[in-house]
Symmetry: none
Subunit: 224 residues, 2 copies
DNA sequence: GGGGTCTTTCAGCGAGGTTTCAGCTTCATT
DNA sequence: AATGAAGCTGAAACCTCGCTGAAAGACCCC
């Protein structure tokens, strides 16, 4: 789950980025309007957190630019001004939610989760449960339908969620890499393979099939 | 312990907010009905103080909205009109208590405490019976079921209460920070860790489990 | 002001998660 | 079957995070 944080206040970023990452998102940061706009045009983010007071280009213009270009990803707007007029303007420009500074980190997280849930509901109804495997966002753990809990580390959780969100699709190692880490890393390593091994050991071998030379596919195992 | 004060009278807020904070709650304020509704949908407040005479959306509608959305947090209603009809209407809409203006701050505090106690008892027969750990608000101390008393300092008490109210959930350090202190503090310190250590030493190691990189979970220890 | 307690900071330690590495297995192609 | 490429996996290295004892700071009560 990949997210762009468009915010220039360093202190805020320093607090927010780790919190978002703890919540299981891969976070890129853009510190001015132009860069934010370009980034989101280049990459299909799952959600964008957009400060209105960015240097070089106003947040509202950036947002309008995306919507004009038919970019439909959910956008949560941050602003320092809590006026009725601005709220209306922002929502009309195509924002999905609106949070005033100062805010509790937890509140932003909750709103992000709510917006994502809504947008996921639009696309694919139902919570994150596929064929007898459930993911619990709150405790960052998984469970089989019979109730057996499965403890996951942070990376394993993100990996599994990525698979479940794209169940049935082939996910290349490169794509998994990009979803799990910030796109600075040009890994030629086998981290992904290693984690897949550990994940398979925990949830069972059959959920993740390898497509040689292409990637991996997540599917419910055959009933024997 | 997090609380939403939905009230538009500035003078009242100016008096009430500090009083509530002094009583150990973290307080957010919402000054109109729509915002109050959204806030409480986004954040799991432990309690809400709701004025009926809010601008933009009537308090009763807001309350009905929450209950229709299966939001079960306790709500204490403030109102200027003291008629039995309104009282009935409000309680039927799902309020937990009802205070008429003008009131003494102390009275409101007492009702809040009472409502919280009731709701804690409702949700979890648990702080008491569960694993044999009880919290005593009056003496700010804890006790094991066998009667052994445990002396707690103020912060330890609030920390433990926060854990017991959210038993089974993962609480990140950041979230605990925000619940224990006003959200001015951008601590990169390890206060929380230090207090967790001392708390564990007092109540026993097994109650609070660490989820590396995510936070802590409060649970009754296994019976050996 | 002095003794006590509560709270916070600091620094070193240790555990656990993550990544790398090396050797092995599997698969496709000839 | 031989070969090479791709993937698997156990073990070791690395690194980060949380733990904890001690000391400093804040606060309160005499």
């Amino acid at each position: 789950m990949r997210l762009l944080l468009a915010e220039d206040d360093e202190a805020l970023v320093a607090g927010l980025k780790p919190a978002l990452e703890r919540a299981g998102y891969a976070v890129d940061v853009a510190t001015d309007g132009v860069f934010a706009q370009l980034s989101a045009e280049a990459i299909a983010y799952d959600l964008i957190v957009l400060d209105l007071g960015l240097p070089r280009r106003n947040g509202i213009e950036v947002l309008r630019g995306w919507r004009a270009a038919r970019r439909a990803m959910p956008v949560v707007v941050l602003t320092a001004r809590d006026t009725w007029q601005e709220k209306v303007e922002v929502l009309n420009a195509g924002a999905d939610d609106y949070v005033c500074k100062p805010f509790h980190t937890e509140e932003l997280l909750a709103r992000i989760a709510a917006v994502l849930k809504r947008s996921a509901a639009r696309r694919a109804p139902g919570p994150l449960a596929r064929g007898g495997l459930r993911l619990d966002e709150a405790t960052q753990s998984a469970a089989l339908d019979d109730g057996t809990p499965i403890e996951l580390s942070s990376i394993e959780f993100r990996l599994l969620r990525c698979f479940m969100l794209h169940a049935g699709q082939v996910l290349s190692q490169q794509r998994l890499n990009e979803h799990l880490y910030d796109h600075a890393t040009d890994h030629d390593s086998n981290v992904i393979e290693a984690h897949i091994t550990r994940l398979r050991r925990k949830i069972g071998r059959d959920w993740i099939q390898t497509r040689r030379g292409q990637g991996y596919v997540f599917e419910a195992p055959e009933a024997p």
